[in-house]
């Protein structure tokens, strides 16, 4: 008995895929929606960052139980997630003037736009870098809620006559961010944002041991890659794109903006990078022709793709396990955040036919069973009395003689409709 119990415990511990939940597409609607929560993988995140807003709104496609190309509605889910953002801002001499002004303005906007991520789960740090005290400045960067970080933008040092220790700043920033993530109890998602207007350039008089050259680039790229954080490099002006892409690595994005960028030109890449933090989603899929009842038939998998540029990327899958005996029931109504639209809210209403047909079927069966069939099986409740039965006991001679037996014929009775021949 104990062995059986242990076996069950082990089997349960093996776990299973995340389930799909069945919700009403809108409050008061009978239209069923499948709801699935998932965390984007690397490929999907890359695709998400590359999509424009319009494409993203229409980008979720799903299939389940033979129904394909269902269009889902996605919402970011921030509950239970932690995020860490480190902005490393170039304050070398070349950033003087309009560039640093635009960068500060855009950073404020960027931090403001992070409001969609829960302030409790997001910590942001901003570190300036040039070529002096690069490690110290990055190490001193304090992670705080976005509001506090915005205040610190004004306290950043003005650009001075420093060179650009880009490789070292990237490597140190990635290490600092990784260390911060390690302290997060919930495995935070990290984003390293580097804003610079110059290629890596260090000289005598700068910090010792700054990374430089091809080896420096390789070492920095290795450090960034090993940190596991997402990296976004915004290059202002004409920079070595190859070097920046090497530095950013597989989990990185490189954006180039003009040498004298407008705020708009600078905010676009940051807006896209912000999507790295939107890695947890709840997608709600109207199930179309699949009604709530039909879902009770079979086990299935709700698969969700993110479609962008015509290429679907699988982003999540959830197992649909209907009840074994009952018909599926709605777990809840969809959150108002999922704007199902009036059409959807009204769709899926139980038609009179849907409700009445099974009830009529039940009535029909019961009438058959209680009224019609008995009359067929036992057609007559009356039959002439067999005088033998009332007069004298029947001697049982074996199995019951049929009650349909005709009474003994009298000699005068006609026994056939046709006369005998000859």
């Amino acid at each position: 008995m104990i062995g059986v119990g242990l076996a069950f415990a082990v089997l349960q511990a093996v776990g299973g895929a995340q389930p799909m939940t069945l919700v009403r597409c809108a409050a008061g609607s009978n239209a069923p929606c499948g709801s699935i929560a998932f965390r984007l993988g690397g490929a999907a995140t890359r695709q998400l960052v590359g999509l424009d807003s319009a494409a993203l709104a229409d980008g979720w496609r799903a299939s389940v139980l033979g129904a394909t190309d269902l269009i889902g509605v996605g919402r970011v889910a921030t509950a239970g997630a932690d995020y860490r953002v480190l902005v490393v801002l170039d304050v070398s001499g070349s950033m003087k003037g309009a560039k640093i002004g635009a960068a500060r303005l855009v950073l404020r906007q960027f931090l403001g736009a992070l409001d969609s991520v829960s302030a409790r789960s997001l910590r942001v740090a901003i570190a300036p870098f040039g070529s002096i005290d690069v490690a110290g400045r990055i190490e001193d960067a304090e992670f705080s809620p976005p509001d506090s970080a915005r205040v610190r933008i004004g306290q950043l040092p003005a650009p001075s006559r420093e060179n650009t220790a880009l490789y070292s700043a990237a490597a140190l920033g990635a290490q600092r961010l990784a260390a911060e993530i390690e302290q997060s109890a919930r495995g935070a998602t990290g984003l390293l944002v580097i804003i610079t207007d110059g290629d890596n350039d260090v000289a005598v008089g700068d910090d010792p041991d700054l990374l430089t050259g091809a080896d420096g680039l390789a070492e920095a790229a290795g450090t960034v890659s090993a940190s596991g954080v997402w990296t976004g490099i915004v290059g202002i002006g004409s920079l070595s794109r190859r070097a920046l892409e090497t530095l950013a690595g597989d989990r990185g994005f490189v954006y180039s903006v003009p040498a004298n960028p407008s705020a708009f030109e600078l905010i676009d890449p940051l807006t896209r990078l912000r999507r790295v933090l939107l890695d947890r989603w709840i997608v709600q899929v109207p199930l179309g022709s699949l009604g709530r009842v039909e879902l009770g038939r079979q086990w299935g998998v709700l698969a969700v793709d993110l479609v962008g540029g015509g290429v679907p990327t699988p982003v999540g899958a959830a197992v649909w396990r209907p009840p074994f005996v009952a018909l599926p029931a709605f777990e809840r109504a969809a959150s108002p955040a999922f704007d199902a639209g009036d059409d959807l809210a009204e769709a899926g209403g139980a038609s009179v036919l849907t409700v009445l047909l099974p009830i009529a079927f039940v009535i029909l069966i019961l009438v058959q069973v209680w009224v019609v069939l008995p009359r067929v099986l036992w057609p007559a409740a009356s039959a002439p009395i067999d005088p033998v039965t009332l007069g004298s006991p029947i001697v049982a001679t074996g199995p019951l003689q049929s009650h349909r037996e005709a009474p003994p014929r009298k000699p005068t009775e006609v026994t056939a409709n046709k006369g005998r021949r000859g």
Partner: protein, 295 residues
């Protein structure tokens, strides 16, 4: 020439044909299952009490078991002229508990990852669960008739299990799921009703003639299955004693002289032959011995 007097209901099914007791068992169980199905249609949303599909399944199974049990035992009591409502209550309790227990075991088995991670696995788990539910339901309700026939619980178990397994497959068919579910309920109910009401081991049946020239009326029909070595009180009208395959009719203790067998008043006990008419308390009864039980 006046019309001959009639003895209603002389055409009881011959041996090998479906006895009305069995038919009524099937009809009653099927009706109980249909009632449970109708009630289950109201469960469209999970709530604070029914907050998961596991609980929902158990609730619906309890409804199914209670419906089948209540109707089956209730109609059995009605058919045998006993008090109906206590039997209905007992049937609801036995049926509800048995079905819920079967469901709980089935849900536990369904947690096995192999049965949980694929379409085929789900189907196997569903068949196993419905089979368990049908088997336990049949066993529980059949046990109620164990005093009459010890093999009845096993019959209920066997037919309930088979009926449940087939019902699960029907429920999983493509098409109108709601109708398939209804058919599955009816199938399981019918199988349990058949298993619990079949009379393979009975000596024969005694039924009360309705006394009127009417079509067959199952609700008004009274019938007793007769097994060997038993004493069967018939509607306080008389007592039928069975021993060694012989039937003896004797008046009820408080009704001496009120019993007629084959037109003769019976003061004490008298052996009753096959197909004789017994008149007692103003009603007539007839016994039919099954051919396999013929002496």
């Amino acid at each position: 020439m006046s019309a001959p007097p009639t003895v209603p209901d002389r055409g009881h099914a011959p041996a090998g044909f479906l006895p009305r007791t069995t038919y009524l068992g099937v009809a009653a169980s099927l009706s109980g299952a249909a009632a449970a199905w109708l009630a289950a249609q109201l469960l469209t949303d999970l709530g604070p009490l029914v907050d998961s599909y596991r609980i929902l399944d158990l609730l619906v199974l309890t409804l199914l078991g209670a419906g089948v049990g209540g109707f089956l035992l209730g109609f059995a009591a009605l058919r045998q002229g006993r008090r109906v409502w206590p039997e209905v209550a007992l049937g609801v309790v036995i049926g509800g508990l048995a079905a819920a227990a079967g469901g709980a075991i089935g849900l536990t088995l369904a947690r096995i990852p192999g049965l949980n991670g694929s379409r085929a696995g789900f189907l196997v788990a569903r068949v196993a669960m419905w089979g368990l539910v049908g088997g336990l339901l049949g066993w529980g309700l059949g046990s109620r008739f164990a005093r009459l026939d010890k093999g009845r619980a096993f019959d209920g178990l066997l037919f309930g299990f088979l009926g449940g397994a087939v019902a699960a497959l029907v429920y999983s068919l493509p098409g109108p799921t709601s109708i398939w579910q209804l058919l599955a309920f009816l199938l399981l109910g019918s199988a349990v009703g058949f298993g619990v009401s079949r009379m393979d081991r009975a000596l024969g049946i005694l039924w009360r003639s309705s006394g009127a020239s009417q079509p067959a009326n199952l609700v008004r029909h009274r019938e007793w299955e007769i097994h060997d070595d038993q004493v069967v009180p018939i509607e306080t009208a008389f007592v039928l004693e069975v021993a060694g395959g012989r039937l003896t009719a004797r008046p009820a203790p408080d009704r001496p002289g009120s019993l007629e067998v084959a037109g003769q008043v019976v003061e004490t006990a008298r052996e009753h032959r096959d197909d004789e008419v017994i008149v007692a308390g103003g009603r007539s009864y007839r016994f039919h011995r099954f051919s396999r039980a013929a002496r």
